[in-house]
């Protein structure tokens, strides 16, 4: 924890109820200050990002050449599973909650979050959830190896013993997310400054309000599905076991009923961040504020009726395929509204290209690429070809890495001077951006090609004809992975020393 011994003057200034924060570790354990908790969330997320990233590099190192070189296939499967779980639940979601903790009270004019004690609680259970999850790596039989989507019966009948630890880990992180979401909604609805009507709120606040409702709607369903797994494994029920009258396809329906809104949970706050940054660096007001709000709301509503596009190949009837295909394509409309609004905001603006803006621009371009490949996957007949190939991997990494992750980077560069009072090192920021931008594209763009050519995902070995693109992707992954060290160095430097911020 890089910031432990750093003196944060604002904590003393703004909290009249205490005589300064407690000393030592107690300060962080008992804190109810939204900024402290926000920082802890962000630091935790960064740690998880590095752990999940290391796992990604193990995957890419193994895939650098065809054949089995470095790891056992079973360990490879554990890596893909843990990489997915840690990045989704450990890196992206806590980072957005951390940003919400820092920014939402300030943006709505509240002194702190509405439920500060619960805020402390919702953060502090999170490290334990991931300790439980990560400890499974050292257990006999190994960590979960059934993919981050943990389809039954792979995750029930054929799962390693450690699956129970995975289930409790998911329960705890779900509880943490739900508490965080309740807190955010309560803060936004009850603690706005007088005169700030809902349609005057900054967009980051709006997107988080909607995201929080999504969290409350679907995280309990995730808790439900892992509870059903737990009962199938230990208590002899047969939710997903055909021998007992259950149905494994039911698992996929319940999982993706959670899973699809979940992917919007990971991208809506990113939309909010980008909608804050682009107007600043275009020196214009955001184009179409109201339409942005309505677009986010309609994306959130639509997210509940598209889940089966993840499972076109389970043998759905034609009517189902057609419905989920068109419902999915409908989401492109509000998403398109947002992209066009960002472009219109920049149109004839006096643009400048500081680090946050570079990340925001990369977000708009690369997220749109990810959106388009998503549209290709939405076409049910074509999806039979793309299903479970690297094309899917390319698609969701394009929306999550240069989408969610770049927006978090952009937000950090944009707001860090506000948090620490120190100006960021712009040269290092730009170096980090360009290395990341190039690295991400070298990593994920070739995956489109190998995917379309038929390379399946989640395999440690592959046919010879995919070798060139895979070694390219591995090189890109190492560039992207190690360029994050520049980011960490830059942030630590900024927190410790650094020029005083001007405005």
């Amino acid at each position: 924890m890089a910031t432990v011994d750093v003196d944060l003057p604002h904590v003393k200034d703004e909290d009249p109820h205490h005589h300064g924060p407690a000393k030592g570790l107690g300060r962080w354990l008992y804190t109810t200050n939204h900024k402290d908790i926000g920082s802890m969330y962000l630091i935790f997320s960064l740690c998880m990002f590095m752990i999940g990233g290391t796992m990604a590099l193990i995957i890419r190192a193994e895939l650098f050449q065809p054949g089995l070189q470095l790891v056992e296939p079973n360990f490879f499967n554990q890596m893909t599973t843990m990489h997915g779980l840690i990045m989704v639940f450990g890196a992206v979601m806590p980072a957005f909650v951390g940003l919400a903790n820092w920014m939402i009270p300030m943006q709505v004019g509240a002194p702190d979050m509405a439920l500060p004690r619960m805020n402390n609680w919702s953060f502090w259970i999170l490290p334990f959830a991931f300790l439980i999850l990560l400890s499974s790596l050292f257990m006999p039989g190994g960590a979960p190896n059934f993919g981050w989507t943990f389809y039954a019966p792979l995750s029930t009948t054929y799962a390693p013993e450690s699956v129970t630890f995975f289930i409790f880990g998911v329960h705890i992180m779900g509880a943490s997310s739900i508490m965080g979401a309740i807190n955010i909604i309560a803060t936004i609805l009850n603690m706005r400054a007088p005169g700030m009507t809902l349609l005057k709120m900054p967009l980051f606040v709006w997107t988080w309000l909607i995201t929080a409702f999504l969290l409350i709607a679907v995280m309990p369903v995730l808790a439900g599905v892992v509870t059903m797994m737990l009962m199938d494994i230990h208590f002899g029920t047969s939710f997903f076991n055909a021998a007992g009258g259950g149905d494994p396809v039911l698992f996929q329906h319940v999982f993706w009923f959670f899973g699809h809104p979940e992917v919007y949970i990971m991208i809506l706050p990113a939309f909010g961040i980008i909608s804050e940054i682009i107007p600043t660096f275009a020196r214009k007001r955001l184009f179409g504020y109201a339409s942005m709000v309505y677009a986010v709301a309609s994306i959130a509503l639509l997210s509940f009726v598209v889940w089966a596009h993840h499972m076109f190949t389970v043998g759905m009837p034609l009517v189902g395929e057609v419905f989920f295909m068109f419902a999915t394509m409908l989401i492109a409309v509000p998403t398109g509204v947002k992209v066009f609004n960002w472009v219109a905001t920049m149109f004839r603006g006096s643009l400048s290209f500081e680090t946050p803006m570079l990340f925001a621009l990369a977000f708009v371009v690369l997220f749109t690429i990810g959106g388009f490949s998503g549209l290709m996957l939405a076409i049910a007949p074509a999806d039979f070809q793309y299903h479970d190939t690297y094309f899917v991997v390319a698609h969701f990494h394009y929306v999550l890495v240069p989408g969610a992750i770049f927006s978090i980077m952009a937000a950090t560069y944009y707001w860090l001077p506000k948090w620490t009072g120190h100006q960021l090192n712009e040269t290092m920021g730009k170096l980090h951006f360009w290395l990341s931008f190039v690295g991400v594209n070298i990593t994920f763009f070739p995956m489109h090609f190998v995917g379309l050519a038929g390379m399946p995902r989640r395999i440690p070995d592959y046919a010879l004809q995919f070798a060139d693109f895979n070694s390219m992707a591995s090189v890109g992954a190492f560039i992207f992975g190690f360029s994050q060290l520049v980011f960490i160095y830059n942030v630590i430097q900024n927190v410790r020393v650094g020029e005083k911020a001007t405005a």
Binding site: A114, L115, M118, I178, A181, I182, N183, I185, A186, L189, N190, M191, I216, A217, V218, M219, P220, V221, L222, A223, G224, V225, M228, S238, F239, A242, A243, G244, G245, D247, V249, L250, H253, V254, F257, F258, G315, M316, P317, G320
Partner: protein, 193 residues
């Protein structure tokens, strides 16, 4: 502001927590909803019409091919085969066929077959008048048997369906049989333990 606001916040937090609890329940409610949905629509090949069918006329202008497939889960040692792999039937015609099962182990065992129909759209039109899958099948060590299936294909079967595949998976229920009483199942075509 403070007191008023705190009350409001508390009330809102309680409501939101209740909403989360309701959604947890909804996750479980999806299980019966899923079955109801499959029952109504016949998706998933789950809708099995049992008992005598109300079909009067045989449509001798149209036939459909019915294929039989058997599947043994990994831990099931029985041999289990259809006596006929594929038959052609007239719509509305009563037709009988049989499946052969043998218990090669040295122990008495009980099994039950779970059926599935492909394409799932055909499931509502396949009436089983009598099927071995309605009940459990015990077999002594080394014994074998032929298990009957009597079915009718509804003449209402959509034009575009020319082949129906009926698949049976045979599950070992010996362990269950020892510990639990056999409950007559009210579920259509589903085995409940």
């Amino acid at each position: 502001m403070a007191v008023q606001n705190e009350k409001q916040t508390k009330r809102l937090a309680v409501r939101l927590a209740t909403a989360a609890l309701v959604m947890f329940g909804f996750g479980f409610a999806l299980v019966p909803l899923y079955d109801v949905f499959c029952d109504i629509t016949g998706l998933n090949g789950k809708n099995f019409n049992q008992g005598p069918a109300q079909i009067v006329a045989v449509d001798d202008s149209r036939t459909v091919k019915v294929q039989f497939i058997t599947v043994n889960p990994a831990d099931m040692p029985w041999s289990f085969e259809p006596t006929e792999r594929s038959i052609r039937v007239f719509l509305g015609e009563d037709r009988q066929t049989a499946f052969y099962a043998k218990n090669p182990t040295a122990n008495w065992m009980v099994a039950q077959a779970v059926p599935s129909v492909t394409p799932s759209e055909a499931a509502p039109y396949l009436h089983k008048v009598n099927c071995f899958c309605f009940e459990r099948q015990p077999l002594e060590a080394g014994a074998d048997t032929e298990m009957p299936l009597l079915f009718v294909v509804d003449p209402e079967l959509p034009e575009y369906i020319s082949t129906i595949t009926l698949s049976y998976a045979l599950y070992d229920l010996t362990g269950e049989q020892k510990v639990t009483q056999v409950k007559p199942s009210k579920d259509k075509g589903r085995v409940s333990l």
